[in-house]
Amino acid sequence: MHDSSGARARILSRLRAAPPAPAPALPDWRAPRFDAPARLDRFRTMLEAMKAEVHEVDAADWPRRLRTLLDNRGVRAVVHGDGSDAARQLAEAWSADPQAPRLVAYDRAIEQWKGELVHGVDAGVTAAVGGIAETGTLILWPTAAEPRLMSLLPPIHVALVEEDTIRDSFAEVILEQGWAGRMPTNVVLVSGPSKTADIEQTLAFGVHGPKELIVLVLKRSGGVRPIPG
């Protein structure tokens, strides 16, 4: 392997030889805040403005609702995580029904089934660890149980988000959840389906990632729970 330690030493020494400048203090800046009803409204409005579909559903009943949504789109194969809560709920609700879309578990390394995942599934279901109202954003924190490509390769991405994990701003999330001390391999903020405006500033969807994003906001009766993860 190329040894770049000489370049490293020279770059750093040139930077250190430059006249020092004081590091300025950071002036005050506050991310926007929302009240409880406005928060969910904002989350929904922003996502819808970016052509995502948002449904508020009962946390116990989402697999049935999803079934209808996917049937309307002619979905035949759905990829889900291996051992995640969402996967268990889906299997319980759909497995007895021969008409339901085929459930495909992401239970192998990508190398073992690249072809199928790249071309062969219609939708992927992931659970977001939270949402951000300001920008209409889902926070995906991929794990071994919910790998990275599930939300990216299938033409439809379904994201579940618990209503009480929606926060006002990204700044609030990072701070509240102490991200700096526990960054995972990869974390992705998702704010709509894949899109491009490279041809004459005309919006087109699904250029590389999902063409559709369906967000299910899970509502629970009962108290506020802490954000998992």
């Binding site: 370049a7 750093l12 005050d28 072809g115 790249v118 071309h119 490509l149 491009t196 405006a197």
Partner: protein
Amino acid sequence: MTADVQTGAGAPKAGSFAERAHLALDDKPLRANFRRAMDGLMAKRAAQFPDAADLAALRARGAAIKERALARLPDLLEQLEARCTGNGIKVHWAETTDEANRIVLGIFREHGVKTVVKGKSMVSEEMHLNAFLGEHGIQAIESDLGEYIIQLAGEMPSHIVMPCIHKNKGQIGALFAEHIEGQRYTEDVDELTAAARRVLRDRFAEADAGISGVNFAVAETGTLVLVENEGNGRLSTTLPPLHVAVMGIEKLVETLDDIPPLLALLPRSATGQPITTYVNMITSPRREGEKDGPREVHLVLLDNGRTRVYADPELRETLRCIRCGACMNHCPVYARVGGHTYDAVYPGPIGKILTPQIAGLDAAGDLPHASSLCNACVEVCPVKIPIADILVRLRREAVRPSASNAVKGAGGGWTLSESSAWAGWKWLHANPVLYRLGSRALALAGNLIPAGLPPLKAWTSVRSKPKFAPRTLHQLARDKGFDDA
């Protein structure tokens, strides 16, 4: 006007900026493409910042974050390297683009890489990485739709955020019909987009490695932050078994909580979006038990003249740039001549200050003059780079009689005639007797100087010749009773 210029293709043309600008100004389709795009982008950005006070606070924060990171740059680079290494990302340093290219090639050779998919990266354009890899038998495919289009056309990006902004859908339709098997000519944007998806899907699946740029690197956590709308950046950094990221040494922030304000500035300034579809934060290669993601991640830190820019406290502000492109969207010169006229990787106002510092004033000394100093770029820059001041500084550096060392190629524009003219001007203005004689002479005879001949010709070719008043200001003042005038 030759036929190929009328295509709006805007391929790089030889000669000076002024010569290329004239060609671009006569290219009607090109001008229409840019005008439409720039008007749209300006309106969208304005709609994103309805509150002037909020915007001012956000920009102040953004500028301070980048200024602080620069003030601590060497320490933070070491911290970034230590964190990345701890996370399993291999870090490399390159002083020149050639070194950076060889590092990337070395990594690829070691892994037997044949084809590579690329996410959008301006630094890789700076390196001319695709051409370099091609010469060494490795095919690099651009996967950002705009970059893919200009790669098919064999052109350079004309905008740092929207690389094929100079093309219309008819031109793109023709390009696809020619290059993509089974694709008919169409101007339907959805169909064109779907065609690109089809072709590139397979490329992603086959690729041995992915290349990406970096929008922000977080020293505190060793995290690489990439923003994009298409998902090609995520694919390039997730699907192939190997990921190589290239970044300029200035793309650094100190802490993770520096990211939200910068994210609140970048997409809104760039394309008038509240946020990009994807914000991709990469902290390590695939960990034990994880089922996808590259098994190896490399980060190449590129200097390419940035340490020299850093050495001068005023010019250093150039390095705050977050590459949003707002300065070009609002630049009256850029909007009329388009990106290719600059014949440089970075066009528009940021290019006018960055290119001469990297390539040298002797090579790109005309760029700082391609500005009316109207200050539009300074007003929109999210990190408050004093672009106009730096333009003036570079103009001065270009004609320094004894080359100062601050900028590469300084003094390269010095000429005896210009220098003597200004020396004479200074002398005249510092000497009351001479000044009075000179201004009286011009009042009497100035209007007789022919406009169409040197020395006035260059000025009057695009402006009317100034008319000299019959009496000087001093004479008028004295008439009014100011006796010490």
